[in-house]
């Protein structure tokens, strides 16, 4: 097959995303009711980004991070703060901030915010990942759980009246349990602007999937797989497990941060960043997407994210309809019902099909046909051979 140059692909992708963005605005102004459905597209894209990034560390590297929500939360607060303060500094009309901003205005605000958020989250990921990934075992799970809780409890725990130094004052300005509503203008809060439409969300999600696929098929991806299958064997053939695990974790952290920033400033978003973004439930959601889709498979994680989002909204709507027909259902806790459903699904998947929907394979990929080396057999006795083979190719 003749290869299409990457530049052409990229240009087509960018144009498609601009088209999506304009179509979104057009459809919403034509029929306000379509907003609910179109908004699902934006949320889908953000979830795809979150799942794709977690998949790098949980799927490709075989580590187990359960604190993804911590990075998503940091990204959300930081992204929200940068975008709203930047909007204030650039004197983009305050009244317009309550509403969606145009695509042109978003170019003034978003690139800076996303780059800063990505870099900051990568740095934090390095600090969190380095000590826990040098060790073998479940330390990453423990530390990431602790990390996301520290972040959440810090935001919740420091109130404006207990803030004494600049650092605690900065944390207190994030609003604690009320959530962050942008900088204060006079008596009122500015709100977090809704700037990220389909151009940014779908565009970045597609870019992330593309990069993750390239990563998986690169030497780096093969080294990650070797580390995942057997760290000692990988080290024996010259792959430094700590280096690869930490790099994977840093990439995942950066991706999660960008996903969080987009979540905060999504079009038709809530205009507020709440600490609920960092709860353990959110980490569990992303784990569900990755595991259901098939950990290690990029398209699996992306499809898992889309499936999750669609089921999320469909179940919400179904329960809503049901409650109107049968009033008794009105008091059912929708979130708890959903978590029951997904947790059961995950347990069943683990027991029946541990590798998830796709396993490690990609969509439209037959077994070992594209030149990427597959382990000859999944038996662990062969792990040394797998690692060597992965390196040799």
């Amino acid at each position: 097959m003749r290869r299409v140059p990457a530049v052409v692909l990229f240009a087509i992708g960018a144009l498609t995303c601009v088209g999506l963005d304009l179509a979104y605005d057009g459809l919403v102004s034509w029929d306000r009711g379509s907003k609910f459905w179109l908004h699902i597209l934006v949320v889908c894209a953000i979830n795809v980004l979150g799942a794709t990034s977690l998949n790098v560390v949980n799927g490709m590297a075989g580590q187990f991070s359960i604190g993804h929500a911590g990075f998503v939360g940091i990204g959300a607060y930081l992204g929200g703060a940068i975008v709203s303060n930047l909007a204030l500094a650039l004197k983009i009309p305050v009244a317009a901030l309550k509403d969606n901003l145009s695509l042109g205005q978003s170019f003034l605000l978003l690139p800076v915010a996303l780059v800063v958020v990505g870099l900051v989250c990568a740095a934090i990921g390095f600090v969190v990942g380095l000590p826990s990934l040098r060790l073998r075992g479940d330390y990453l799970a423990i530390v990431t759980l602790g990390f996301s809780e520290i972040v959440r409890l810090t935001v919740l725990g420091i109130s404006a009246d207990s803030a004494t130094n600049p650092l605690t004052r900065a944390i207190a300005s994030l609003g604690g349990s009320l959530g962050y509503r942008g900088p204060k203008v006079g008596e009122d809060y500015l709100g977090v602007p809704s700037v990220a439409g389909p151009f940014w969300t779908v565009g970045i999600a597609a870019l992330a999937v593309f990069l993750a696929l390239r990563l998986k098929r690169s030497g780096f991806g093969r080294a990650l797989r070797a580390v995942r299958e057997d760290e000692i064997a990988a080290a024996a053939v010259g792959v430094d497990p700590a280096k690869y695990k930490v790099t994977a974790f840093v990439l995942a952290a950066a991706g999660a941060g960008v996903a969080g920033a987009l979540l905060a400033v999504q079009r038709d978003g809530p205009g507020i960043v709440g600490p609920a973004n960092m709860k353990f439930d959110k980490s569990f959601e992303v784990i569900t997407m990755v595991i259901l889709g098939g950990s290690g498979s990029v398209s699996g994680a992306a499809i898992g994210a889309v499936l999750y989002t669609v089921i999320f909204y469909a179940s919400e709507e179904a329960l809503h309809q049901l409650a109107q027909a049968v009033p008794a259902f009105g008091s059912v806790d929708a979130a708890a019902l959903r978590m029951t459903l997904f947790a059961t699904a995950l347990i069943v998947v683990m027991l029946v099909r541990t590798q998830g929907l796709f396993g490690e394979r990609e969509l439209f990929e037959k077994k070992a046909d594209d030149g990427t080396p597959k382990p000859p057999s999944p038996s662990s006795d062969d792990a040394t051979g797998t690692a060597k083979e992965a390196l040799a190719s």
Partner: protein, 287 residues
Amino acid sequence: MIAWLLNALAQGAMIALVALGYTMVYGVLRLINFAHSEVLMMSAYASVIAQTRLFAGFGRAGMVLSTLVAIVVAVALGVTIEMVAYRPLRARAKGASARVAPLVTAISVSVLLQSVAQLAFTATPRNLDRALAPPMWSVIVIAALVMVGLHALVNLTWIGKAMRAVAVNAEAARLMGIHPSRVIVFTFAVGSGLAAIGAVLYAGTQAPIEPTMGTAIGNLAFVAAVVGGIGSVQGAMLGGVLIGLLGEIVKRTSFSGMKDAIVFALLVVVLLVKPAGLLGQARAEKV
């Protein structure tokens, strides 16, 4: 001052009771049993339901009976989780998924039980009758007795020896005529029972019973287990007392809102300095 110290020790003792469940299961299975905190929460509900429905007029004796009900429920639940969710996985999973799959399952079971509690009992907190609450000194006495009993169980009995044998090497234990799966079930039963005692003491003396209580106490207990050295029974007791003291000290400073964050920060520091925990032993890796 003495009252304060007594209270801090009681806190630590309750945390240690729960931490023992984490550490014992980790010892024999190398699995962080995230569902442990939900077993605790469910047993607290069992105790409050038994206390209000069955033994309402029995006074202190009713409280003891409800505690027994809670222990039975916890043991049944813990053993069921092991048999239904964890055991089939050990037989099947291999390679890289052998490490991650049990963790995923453990977390899923935890989320499932918490959501089921949310649906069944709603988020409205319930309370054990505070008039029947054991005094603080008795919490320490009860916890100390239980721990002495556990120590004797692990070190002096046949089944305790079997547990230690499985923890060191399950294959070798099997060759010596020990059934690892029976030992594992026993470990889950003991750990869950201890969690039930901790849950009733905790709910009786200070906290309301709600679906999220498992996570709140479980996180502290889990940190205690890791700080003490996960897999070590004495470590869990030491870790529990340390976490209890630290929590009470932080409460007296201006950082009281950050109590749990500071506890987690301690965890990260301990992992950095002494990854195996205070009393844990670092093992050499073998191929």
